[in-house]
């Protein structure tokens, strides 16, 4: 976060809407954040909160022709929103790479793993020979921890486990030496033991290449393990963002309190009841007026029918932003539940 260098990626007031039969789904509703070189920015939030749409938009992969975009996303001087296919293709090759939750969907089941990596390498480096590309593929596979890589070039995707396929995806992402890697739930489908190994690969990638990483996840354990900064999304909006430790130890938004309070941990006291956030996320077809968290927020008051802006409220911490109308003092007082950060619950509200 040096003041001298501009961020690698700067997203400002990004909005993505989908036209559907039932009306307009505002999937992303004013998202702003930056990513610098060598930092891991985690985007957390419940399913449907717009994490993937945000990530896909950066790759120029809107899901469907019914999408409309607003706002800007500048990567290394190039505007991504509204870029031509040709521009995006070039950026995908040389600047931004993506790893998805389900690697099977991005690998071609009928081609050998080696051929797919080679093809990826040659797409960006037209001059390289097939043999050189194969050598490079072996190096890349070894680098992401695939044992006996030379032998396994000949394998098909289905012969690999989920963890191995995810390593292949990371190897392919590395093949273009990306400046920015977007990983959308890269470990969600994996066992914890394999997750730990994949997170280690991502850390290595960041440290060795100084790439920026956007990690989409719903797992706060993963966030604590690898993120430098955190973006918390709720119902299409960024509700809070800040440096890792600030999000965990001085969270500003009631939704963040609820998230932190409701996680099961292997190292905490086993309480009788797990504090839950009451209710469900709203429909993005007809989101609530004002603050999107209002229907589930035990601290809502009159002002909350107006949309709170994403602003800094913490003294001497300009990088901490949140979207809540409560004053800083009120927040500090309200977020303590049984001596821990949490969302005060009136009664177990379920629906």
């Amino acid at each position: 976060m040096s003041a001298t260098e501009p961020p690698l990626l700067e997203i400002s007031d990004l909005r993505v809407a989908f036209a559907t039969e039932d009306g307009t789904v505002q999937a992303v509703d004013g998202v702003s954040f930056t990513v610098s070189r060598g930092e891991v920015v985690a985007i957390v939030g419940e399913s449907g909160s717009g994490k993937s749409v945000t990530a896909m938009t950066l790759m120029g992969l809107p899901r469907g022709s019914n999408a409309t975009f607003q706002g800007t996303a500048t990567f290394d001087g190039t505007e991504l929103v509204g870029a031509s296919d040709e521009q995006l293709r070039r950026i995908r090759g040389a600047g931004i790479a993506m790893v998805f939750q389900d690697p099977m969907s991005s690998l071609d089941p009928v081609y050998r793993i080696g051929d797919q990596i080679v093809e990826q390498i040659r797409a960006h480096e037209r001059k390289i020979s097939k043999a050189q590309a194969l050598d490079r593929a072996v190096t890349l596979m070894e680098r992401v921890g695939i044992p006996r890589a030379a032998e396994r070039l000949r394998s098909y995707p289905h012969e690999f486990s989920g963890g191995m396929r995810q390593r292949v995806m990371i190897a392919m992402a590395l093949s273009c030496s990306p400046k920015l890697l977007i990983a959308d739930e890269p470990t969600t489908a994996l066992d914890v033991t394999i997750q730990a190994q994949i997170l280690e690969e991502l850390r290595k990638l960041r440290d060795e290449t100084d790439a920026g990483v956007i990690l989409v996840t719903h797992d706060l354990g993963v966030v604590a393990d690898i993120a430098d900064r955190v973006i918390v999304m709720y119902a299409g909006r960024v509700v809070e963002q800040g440096v890792l430790d600030d999000i965990f130890y001085d969270p500003q938004h009631p939704y963040t309190w609820g998230l932190l309070g409701s996680i099961t941990r292997i190292d905490s006291d086993r309480s009788q009841r797990l504090p839950a956030i009451p209710g469900m996320p709203p429909s993005l077809l007809s989101p609530p007026k004002g603050c999107h968290f209002r229907p589930r927020c035990p601290h809502a008051f009159e002002k909350c029918v107006e949309v709170p802006p994403l602003e800094g409220h913490v003294a001497n911490r300009p990088e901490s932003l949140d979207r809540c109308w409560l004053t800083e003092d009120r927040k500090r007082a309200l977020r303590q539940v049984d001596g821990q950060v949490g969302l005060r619950s009136t009664e177990p509200v379920i629906s």
Binding site: A224, F248, T264
Partner: protein, 448 residues
């Protein structure tokens, strides 16, 4: 109301059953519907038994059970204090691997569940954890008799049900219910909520005219509005669908519910809601649970005891708290170490036992201790002799030649458990000799 329109067997159940699953030992009659996570309505209620007498599966079952000597109810009375509700002895489920063009030849076996023994007591929650593919789902499906065990015994209230036929099982099916991992796939998309609940309610013998009222009460009990009887599963969120699945299981008034990853598909905030609900229902109805999860932090919240599985075998069985404060088996340590703690400072400061590689192929599991290919403490004995389950103080069992977090005194006082696999060696555990530098320093105990 259309509840009773659900009489015809549900075609989708039968259609979507993969042919190989039929071969894999599903009982030919009643159980075609129960083919796993991806099959809708595979509950052990009437809905899951579509190939049973068409049009009569639900109203028919209880009636048939009556005259059939009713062993289910008689054994109920005989349940003594201390008789487990459910017990499993040397249970094995091996899936044959077939090859060949014209004639199927068996070329191997998947060792999905391989000599597993444990007991579950009334009112207890037993957690089962392990990496994917270790046999958790298979175990549950064998227990509810959706699959026929290769060998071993399953007892319900002391009575052997391993080979019981449909008729004998009918009363037990009402006591033992299953909730599936994927709430999306386990509810038939073409049935309304009312129909989904009506089938098990009728199975319990609720008169037709009371079904709608009882359905509404059930829905309210799981925290949903009672007026959704006419809606279809896709109109609900994942968490709500899981509640409907739980309501369906509750409808027959069971004593035991087997839950296969009931919250894995849900968001954290919704996970907490469902876990709390299960907790309340357990107290209210004195339910026992078998709770399968791959997530050690979730089972911790719900379980009284926890079973850790690896490649079809039990590695450790422990009272819930002890598993975390004093993991004895290196595999348990590895699982715990791999979980990132959602607290940056704690996470940074702890030492973590790292584990490399992936679980080996269950067709050719490693000799001796199945974990030896990934275990940092493995020695020669581990490669050749399968460790027995050793019982330490407090009912804490572990199958390891070189147990962790125990003193020499504890090892000396430990005994061989009769739950040990039949193929386990006679060798008792031994702490690795000091000076065995590389192997002891490879993992530091998980710090807490």
């Amino acid at each position: 109301m259309t509840e009773h329109d659900s009489l015809p067997p549900d075609r989708r159940d039968a259609d979507s059953l993969p042919p190989d699953e039929r071969d894999a030992g599903a009982p030919p009659d009643a159980d075609a519907g129960g083919s796993g996570d991806d099959v809708p309505d595979a509950g052990t209620t009437g809905e899951g038994t579509p190939s049973a007498s068409p049009g009569g599966s639900m109203s028919g079952a209880p009636a048939e059970a009556g005259p059939a000597a009713d062993p289910g109810t008689s054994s109920e009375g005989a349940t003594a204090e201390g008789t487990p509700l459910l017990s499993v002895e040397h249970l094995r489920m091996l899936f044959p691997i077939k090859a060949g063009l014209l004639v199927d030849r068996q070329v191997g076996q998947v060792h999905a569940v391989d000599d597993v023994s444990f007991a579950l007591y009334e009112g207890e929650t037993l957690g089962i954890v392990g990496e994917s593919g270790c046999g958790k789902t298979t175990l549950i499906r064998v227990l509810v008799r959706l699959l026929d065990a290769t060998s071993g015994a399953i007892r319900f209230r002391g009575r052997d049900i391993t080979r019981s036929g449909r008729r004998e099982l009918a009363p037990i099916r009402r006591e033992m219910q299953m909730v599936f991992q994927d709430p999306q796939a386990s509810l038939n998309p073409r049935k309304r909520v009312g129909q989904i609940l009506a089938t098990p309610l009728r199975l319990r013998g609720v008169p037709r005219e009371q079904v709608a009222r009882e359905s509404r009460e059930l829905l309210q009990r799981v925290g949903m509005a009672g007026d959704v009887l006419n809606r279809f599963p896709h109109e609900f969120s994942g968490g709500q669908r899981q509640r409907i699945g739980i309501a369906r299981a509750l409808a027959v008034d069971p004593r035991l519910i087997l839950l296969d990853e009931p919250v894995s598909a849900l968001d954290v905030s919704i996970q907490a809601q469902v876990i709390n609900l299960l907790d309340e229902l357990q107290d209210e109805f004195r339910l026992s649970y078998v709770f399968v999860a791959h997530d050690l932090s979730v089972v911790r919240h719900v379980s009284d005891r926890i079973v850790v599985m690896y490649l079809g075998k039990l590695m450790e069985v422990s009272p819930a708290e002890q598993l975390y404060s004093k993991p004895i088996h290196p595999y348990t340590q590895a699982l715990l170490g791999a979980i990132p703690i959602p607290d940056p400072r704690v996470n940074r400061s702890r030492q973590r036992a790292v584990i490399s590689g992936e679980p080996p192929n269950p067709i050719n599991p490693p000799s001796g201790c199945r974990f030896h290919t990934r275990c940092p403490h493995a020695t020669e004995v581990c490669r050749t002799i399968e460790p027995p389950l050793t019982e330490y103080a407090g009912g804490h069992l572990a199958a390891c030649h070189h147990p962790q977090n125990v003193t020499a005194g504890e090892v000396a006082a430990a005994t061989r458990s009769d739950q040990s696999p039949l193929s386990a060696g006679a060798e008792g555990p031994s702490l690795i000799a000091a000076g065995d530098g590389r192997e002891t320093s490879a993992t530091a105990p998980v710090q807490r």
